[in-house]
Structure formats: C-alpha cells, structure tokens
C-alpha cells in the first residue's frame, strides 16, 4: 500500500451534509494519532484528518520523554523523576507525571516493535553523528546498539552514504568513553546502486531480498551484504548499520543478517527520510484503523464556523470546502516544522483557529546568537488551561470544545530537552481522553 494515501471514507465533494463524529482530531502526527487512539479506546466515535506527512518522516524514530532539564542538566537517568520540577508552563506540568505514565502504557500497548518499557531508566543510543543521546523508547532494531551494553561493536558504513561515516562515529563514541571497544568499517553496498540512490531504494532491495550481481554472479542481497561485512568482523558481538535495513520486513532482515554474521545486528537512527520514523507512523496508523477510527489524509483543514464553540470545520479538497463537524476537537497540527505554528515578519500565529501564540514583539528576540543558545522560537506554540484547551492572552479558553496536543503546544524546547515524542504522546493521550469523556 502506498504510504501516503489512506483515505477511508470518500467524502461527498459537494459539501451539503457535514461528515460527523464525536471527536475530530486535526493532524496525523504522533500527537494526533495518540489522541485519536486514546479517544477511541475511551469509547468515542473518532475521525482523524491530516494534511501532509508528519514530522516522523524527519525524526529519528526514538521516543524521548526527557533527556535534559530546561537548565541543561543531564543526561537524566530517570525522566519521570525530573518531571515534577519542570516549570508550570511546560506541557508535562499541565498533564502531570501519572498521565505521562498512562500515555506511555498506551504507546507500549499499540506499538509492539519498541523496547524500553521494562524500565523507567533512559537508554543512551548512538546517533549517526557519533554522539549518544538519552531516550526512553527505541525501535527493537536499535536495541542491540545501546551504549550501556558492554559487548564490543562494529559499525558499518556504506561508501556512497554521505550521512554516516562509520569510522568517525566509532572514534566519536570512544571519545565519549563508552564501556566497550568500537570500530568502524566502510564497504560498498553489493550490486550497482547509483551513488545517489535513495535510502528507500536500499530498503526495498533488502525487503525483497532482490538479486544483485557480485563479480558476475547473481546473489541475494542479504547474503551478499553479510558476506562483505563478515570479512571485516573481528569478534565483535554487535554490528551496527545505518537505518536502511528494510521498510516492511525490517525484523526479518535484521535477524537474517544477524544469523549470517553471528552477531546481534542493530540500526543507527538517521536523518530524513527516516525509516524508523516512517515505520512508527505506519504502526500507529494501523493501530488506529484497527480501533475503528475514520481517517482522511491529504487535505488541510482550512476554515471553521463558531465563536465560543467550534461548530464545524472545512477541509479544502480540490478547491471545494467539505464540512466536518464534531462535538469535540483536538488540534494536533504540529509546531514550526509541521506547520501548526507559522510566522511572518509581523509575528507568530496558529493558522487554523488563530489561537493566541505568545511571542516577543521584536523578532530579534526570538533567537539566541549562539547556534545552540536559548532560542525562544523553539518554545513557540499555543498556551493552554489545565484541560489542554488553548487560551487567549488573558488566560480564558479560546473555544470550549477545542484541545491542543503535541508540538503545536508552546512552553517547551523539545530539541534541547529531548522531550519531543514524549510530550506529543502524553498530551495527545490526555487531550484525546478528555475529549472523549466530554463528548459522551
């Protein structure tokens, strides 16, 4: 199935009758998907509408809860222990630590291929830049790569893959003092893929175990790859590849390579397009479909009717405006990256409902001069009341039946704290649950 074509109900093009649901979730990223799942589990009739592919396409696929405090202390071993001390405006403070736990339990339940639920303690995962980063949940495929595992590691780079230099990453890990020996080797991928082959091209070839030609002989690609890598193996019990090991059949590929190499195989998360992120998105969409929600993607919510209460919203589709109405709405349109928060020279705004987004008047106060300084823009987003309802500047709710979840929320810098997915899951869960309760 093509990844970006998930329209289930095909709505009428002439907008006469509104498409109805009890809860309407706007946005199909981690925040919106969790929200819709939580609402569906609470018994509500749920519909999710989303425009473009979510931020998961760009994200590593790791699920961070909290790696550093807003003051930069860390890496934290126990994210939950640090949550009560967060500033009042932080979304985790709004939902509270026990809701974060409940939300993670929902995540663990619907996404089987993730690890980390056995402990409250953060894991340190090697990144493609060679650093380590603290995270709470990781794809099963990254599990054998953890830095607190003391078995030796071989990292494998591919000659034409400019994003990952295995040898440099290995030296970088040693510089961080990891408790094992780590080496990097670079090899060419078997067959003759073009130098600029996309990551998805490698994944597809491995998914189908397609034949490649090696020294004039036709070989299945997995065997040929294992053979090449095996020559460089010197007793390491773990072998790390860039995250290209299949899309649909990732587990099978990893196991086959592992069997052939006699070592545990893991993937190092990479930048966009991120296969682990896309796999997570797929898993959540599958779970939501199983939960019976109606899903429509590819078109934006452009307008709405309502004053104190949202009556209905309009999805713009091929020039037509299709009304959708619900009792409760969840805004999960993402932050600056997902385009749920936008800006121009005059200021920062939330484009769908024009909810208030606090920001400094002078746009030169939006950022720090240091590349990793204290950037206000990273905390841009709507502010809410205790029930996650976006509020106006005076603190009153913008609309009585609108809640917000995920990166559209302000008050936290997910990049510095390493809290992105955790906040989206926790607030998505809380908003979805609360919306479902109120709708019934």
């Amino acid at each position: 199935m093509s990844r970006w074509c998930r329209t289930r109900a095909s709505p009428p093009t002439e907008g006469t009758m509104a498409i109805e649901s009890e809860v309407l979730v706007i946005g199909g990223g981690l925040g919106g998907l969790t929200s819709a799942l939580a609402a569906a589990r609470a018994g509500a009739d749920v519909r999710l509408v989303s425009y473009k592919q979510s931020t998961l396409r760009n994200a590593s696929g790791l699920v961070d809860i909290l790696g550093y405090t807003p003051d930069g202390d860390g890496p934290l071993t126990d994210p939950y222990a640090a949550i009560p001390a967060l500033p009042a405006a932080h979304p985790y403070s709004t939902v509270g630590v026990s809701t974060v736990r409940d939300a993670m339990a929902l995540f663990d339940d619907v996404v089987p291929d993730y690890r980390g639920s056995h402990t409250d303690t953060n894991a340190l995962v090697p990144t493609h830049g060679g650093t380590l980063k603290p995270t709470a949940r990781y794809p099963a495929g990254a599990s054998a790569g953890l830095a607190s595992d003391e078995r030796d590691v071989l990292l494998v780079g591919l000659e034409s893959m400019v994003d990952f230099d295995a040898d440099r990453a290995a030296e970088h890990l040693e510089a961080a003092g990891v408790p094992f020996d780590v080496r990097g080797v670079t090899t060419s991928f078997p067959g003759d893929l073009r130098a600029d082959a996309k990551i998805t091209r490698y994944a597809k070839l491995l998914d189908t175990d397609g034949e490649v030609s090696v020294k004039g002989r036709k070989r299945p690609v997995r065997a040929a790859l294992a053979e090449r890598v095996g020559r460089g193996l010197a007793g390491e019990q773990r072998v790390g590849f860039p995250a290209i090991l299949g899309d649909d059949n990732a587990t099978e590929i990893r196991e086959e390579l592992g069997d052939r190499l006699g070592a545990d195989v893991f993937e190092v998360p990479m930048g966009p397009p991120s296969l682990p992120g896309l796999r997570l998105e797929d898993a959540l969409f599958d779970a939501l479909r199983r939960a019976g929600a109606s899903i429509e993607t590819g078109n934006p919510v452009a307008e709405f009717d309502g004053d104190d209460r949202i009556e209905q919203v309009y999805i713009e589709k091929n020039g037509a405006k299709i009304p959708n109405s619900a009792d409760q709405y969840v805004l999960a349109t993402g932050g600056l990256v997902g385009k749920g928060v936008e800006s121009d020279r005059g200021g920062v705004y939330e484009p769908v409902f024009d909810c208030h987004v606090p920001h400094a008047e002078d746009r030169y106060d939006w950022f720090d001069t240091d590349v990793f300084g204290d950037h206000e823009f990273a905390r841009f987003g709507v502010q809410t009341d205790d029930d996650l309802r976006p509020t106006q500047a005076d603190g009153s709710a913008e609309f009585e039946n609108l809640r917000a979840a995920g990166a559209v929320l302000g008050g936290y810098d997910f990049a510095a704290e390493k809290s992105g997915s955790g906040v989206s899951i926790a607030t998505g869960y809380a908003a979805g649950r609360s919306a479902a309760q109120e709708a019934q």
Binding site: E150, D163, A176, S343, G420
Partner: protein, 575 residues
C-alpha cells in the same frame, strides 16, 4: 639585487590576491598574509555585481569608465566566475525623467553600451517587474562570484611561486631606520593550510617591500607604524532570497538611495543595500529595520518580494577613502575611486605602500597599478599580463559540456559542478570511488568537497566558500555533518568535530536576519536535526562524567542470536 625582491602583501581580499597574482606573474617573490580565510573581509560580504559602470555614469564618470573596461576584461579572464545576466535601470512613474536622460547620456559618454526599452519590453524580460514601471535602460551588468574569483587569483599566484598564508594575522610592522623591513605575523595553526587544533606561532617575515591591502582595516596597519590612513568604513546590508525572482540585475534609476538594486546570484537573488558610516569594521550594529527596508523598498520594483522567503542577510563594510582635505559629511558622497598611498612620499616612511578605496570590479586594475608602482621602486621592467592570461578554471570554457557527459554527472548537479570548476572540472571530478552529492541544495559532490579540503585543510568554512556547500535553502541543516564526514579520515575525529561545530555556528550567524516564515520553520527543523537527532548540543564526548552503568542496557529477554555454532563458521556462506 641578486634575487627577486621579496614583497609582503597584507590582506586576502580581491585587492590583495589580485596584487599577489600580478607581482608573482612578473617574477617577484610574494608572501600574502590574511588574518582569516581568503575573502574574510569585505570581499566575502559584497553584492556580487560585476558593474557595467552604469551606477556611476552620472555621479562619478571616471569610476564608470574603469568599470566598463574591467567588466570586459573579467568576462574574458574569469569566465567561470562571471554570469552575464545583463542589467536594467528601471524608472517608476514618480522617478525623474531628467535623471533618466542623464543616466542614458552618461552611459554613452563613458562607453557603456546602453539602450532604452519600454516598460512592456522590460516585463517581457523580467515578468515579475511591477506593472507600472515606465521604461528602462539596459546595460551589461553581470553577477560575479567573489569566492571563486579570489581563490582562482590565489591559486594562480601560488602557481607562480607565491606563498599564501591564511589565518595569519599581521600584529606589527617591523620598522628599522625609517623604513618598513617586514611584518610580524601570528599564525593561527602553524604555516600552510589551516588545521584545527594545530598550534600556531609568531613569525617575523622580513621583506623588501610591504603592500597594505587591508581595505577597511588599512588604518589599523597604518597605526602600527604611526601612520594616519583616513579610511572611512561604511556599512551596507544585503538580503538573500531563496529563489531568483529576477534573472537580470535590476537597478532603480534614481540619484542615490538605499535599497535600489537586486542582483541574481546562482540560485538566489540578493537585495541591497545601504550606506552608513561605522567606527569599527568588525563591530557594528546589524538591525532589523535595515532588512525590512530592503524588502519594503524593493517590492516597489518587484512586488512578489513582499511574500518571498529570505534565507539570510549579511553586512559588509566599504573601505572608502577620502583625501584629508575633502571632508564629506555623507558617506554616499565619498568617491568610489581608489588611492595609492606611497608612505615614503606622504609620510617619509620607506618600504610600504597602501591601497585603499575602489571596488571589487576594478580589483585587477588596482593590482596592476600597485604592481607597476612596486616594480618601479626596484627598477624592474616587467609587463602586466593579468588582463590577458585567464585565471585557473577559465582557460577553456568551451569544453564544459563534454565534461558533463564524461563524468556521468546528472544535470543540474553536473551543470553546476562544471560551472563552478570551469576548466578544472576534469582534474577534480575524475575519482575512483563513487561520487555522491554531499550538499543537495547547491549540488556539490564529494569530489568537489575533497578538492576543496585539499586546498584549505580542515577549515570547513573555507570548503564552504570554495564549493558553496551548505549555502543553499537549508543553510547546512542537511549537510554540515556530511561535510564533517568528508574530513575524516584525513583528519582525526576531534579535529573534525571542532570544524563541524565551527561550521554550524557560522551557518547560524547570518540566518538571524531571515528568521520568519519558511526560514524559521527551516531553522527549527535544522535545530532538531542537530540537537534532537544527533544531540550535538550536549555531546557526551565533551563531558567525561557519564556513568554508563546507570542507564538502560536493554531488555533482559532480548533474543540473542550469537550462539557459538553460528559464530564458529562465521554464519555466512563466504568464499
């Protein structure tokens, strides 16, 4: 004199490298010292206009004539650095007809080919011009890449035996018996190309003559020997758009004014500029209103600029010079001409000349005049050849197409590489291994990055300037770490990491003036790619206190596949 005189040239901008090339080609022994990268000063922060002279055709006809002459020379000797876009002086209904006529007759008087076209014809050339533009004068303006041109001049000087030292700052002039006899230089990382972390040192370079080509800094060099050089630095802002809204240089046909020109440059268009005197060429305010003014004024010429995405803004300082007796109040009144200050005649201090003022477009002519002067001092009779001998990369531009096929480069990547490299394309792109693209926005391949590293060491900012990698829409969000990867294994991990961090910081700097709309979203994405995905902001390698045992080492029940029997035969059907 038994051997060729040894000349120190201070300053690695267009003027200094132009002089170094000229002197070296005439057989003199040249050492050029530059405190930063080549183009660290004004040359790396200018508008990129190859003047036709049209801008000076009314107010400063001597400069205008020099411009058109050099415009023709550079098209010839530096074809791989120049794009002949053509230029227009456009007139809005409220602009003076009298001035329009003066511009036209001024161009004719200076020998600048100029032709009046109607508003309709102008819009046919440039569809995004405002609908109420009356008419325009077309002139042979062009776009020029200052980085490429300066690197080519330095390369040519080197081919002729010159020593080029970057990241080497002149900290003092050596003066003995009323004469400058050399310079004291502080090397940032030892001599030769720059390597991070290599310790530098101080060197006394003894010379027969010193050329001060430090532009806006010339006064500071003068101070070292108690000389008064009245440079009046004047700043100007330039704002880079994400696409080329125009393919022709668009000037407003008005007397003088801020925000009156748009120069198409590679994949971008650059708006400019302002003219405001500052005290310190390195430390001056950069203000939001300046950027806003560029957009708000120039949208009168090209309305779509109002909504367009800017990727960054930067400022430069003009090294204007005014003879002490003139005393202009307004920096826009100061002449754009250049001056050669012979300190022997002027200040009774032998052994040094300063060159101040001028323009990028006339750098070669300035170099020729200085070189004539230096040769005169030593009684050397050697002809200037810089107007005739093409720069490295521009020798034979006609063969470019063939290279593209030969190297299997896909257009537009291939076209861009070959255009950047000119006649050096064959030498650079001929590699054994695969040649993937490292910077997608600008289409820069591994081979080009490797070539630049060979030329400039572990300094990724210098690699950036040579190749344009990380200078496109994403401003390095997707490729800074890739560029760092390319430094390895030639340079070790810690050197690579230092260079990587320095590049990230540099790339952040100029975006500050473009942070709204799409570019702010891009900045957040970049921040997340670096801080979230890679934890670059909290790298444990820079913090030795991690207790690894305190973190999760993985679930107990993980299926371990490494059982002995599999491991014994290697687990793969190898041969």
């Amino acid at each position: 004199m038994t051997s060729a005189p040894h000349i120190a040239v201070i300053g690695g901008g267009s003027t200094g490298t132009g002089i170094a090339r000229d002197l070296a080609m005439r057989g003199l022994d040249v050492t050029l010292v530059e405190q930063g990268n080549l183009t660290h000063g004004t040359t790396g922060r200018m508008h990129g206009l190859l003047h036709s002279g049209g801008r000076y055709a009314v107010s400063d006809q001597a400069s205008a004539e020099e411009c058109i002459e050099e415009n023709r020379v550079l098209r010839d000797i530096a074809s791989h650095c120049v794009e002949m876009t053509g230029g227009l002086f456009v007139k809005r209904p409220e602009d003076s007809e009298e001035y329009f006529q003066k511009k036209l007759s001024g161009c004719e008087a200076c020998g600048i080919p100029a032709e009046v076209i109607s508003g309709e014809e102008a819009r046919k050339m440039e569809p995004h011009l405002a609908t109420d533009i009356d008419k325009a004068i077309s002139v042979p303006d062009g776009a020029v890449d200052p980085f490429r041109l300066v690197v080519a001049n330095a390369a040519s000087a080197q081919e002729h035996g010159a020593r080029i030292e970057t990241h080497s700052k002149v900290t003092d002039l050596l003066v003995e018996d009323g004469e400058v006899v050399g310079v004291e230089v502080e090397h940032d990382s030892g001599t030769g190309e720059r390597v991070h972390g290599r310790t530098g040192g101080t060197e006394e370079i003894r010379t027969d003559y010193v050329v001060n080509a430090t532009g806006a800094w010339a006064g500071r060099i003068g101070d070292m020997a108690g000389l008064d050089i009245e440079v009046r630095p004047s700043k100007g802002v330039m704002t880079i758009m994400n696409v080329r809204q125009v393919d022709t240089v668009i000037n407003r046909c008005k007397p003088k004014g801020d925000a009156d020109i748009i120069v198409p440059h590679e994949t971008t268009a650059i708006l400019g500029t302002t003219d405001e005197e500052v005290d310190d060429p390195e430390d001056y305010p950069e203000k939001q209103w300046e950027v806003d003014m560029m957009i708000d004024t120039l949208k009168e010429l090209v309305p779509m600029l109002d909504e367009a995405r800017t990727i960054r803004s930067f400022w430069g300082v003009r090294p204007l010079y005014e003879p002490p007796d003139v005393g202009s109040d307004d920096p826009t009144d100061i002449t754009r001409d250049y001056f050669l200050l012979d300190h022997e005649e002027r200040d009774s201090l032998g052994g040094m000349v300063s060159i101040v003022g001028g323009k990028f477009t006339t750098y070669r002519m300035m170099g020729e005049e200085i070189s004539d002067h230096v040769c005169g001092k030593f009684g050397i009779d050697a002809d200037c050849r810089t107007a005739d001998v093409p720069l490295p990369g521009s020798e034979d531009f006609t063969v470019l197409r063939d290279y593209m096929d030969e190297f299997g480069l896909q257009s537009p990547i291939g076209r861009r590489s070959v255009e950047r490299l000119g006649s050096r394309a064959e030498e650079v792109l001929q590699t054994d291994g695969p040649n993937p693209v490292v910077c997608g926005c600008e289409g820069v391949t591994r081979a080009e990055i490797q070539d630049a590293i060979e030329g400039s060491g572990s300094d990724l900012n210098a690699v950036r300037l040579r190749t344009r990698a990380s200078m496109g829409n994403c401003q390095g969000g997707f490729c800074c770490h890739r560029m760092a990867n390319e430094l390895h294994t030639e340079y070790d991990e810690s050197t690579t990491r230092a260079a990587w961090d320095e590049l990230l910081q540099e790339r952040w700097k100029g975006q500050r003036h473009a942070l709204w709309g799409e570019q702010l979203s891009q900045a957040m994405l970049n921040y997340a790619l670096q801080a979230t995905t890679q934890n670059r902001d909290n790298d444990p390698a820079e913090d030795d206190s991690i207790d690894f045992a305190a973190f999760d080492s993985g679930p107990e029940d993980v299926e371990v596949v490494s059982d002995a029997s599999v491991a014994a035969d290697g687990g793969y059907d190898g041969n």
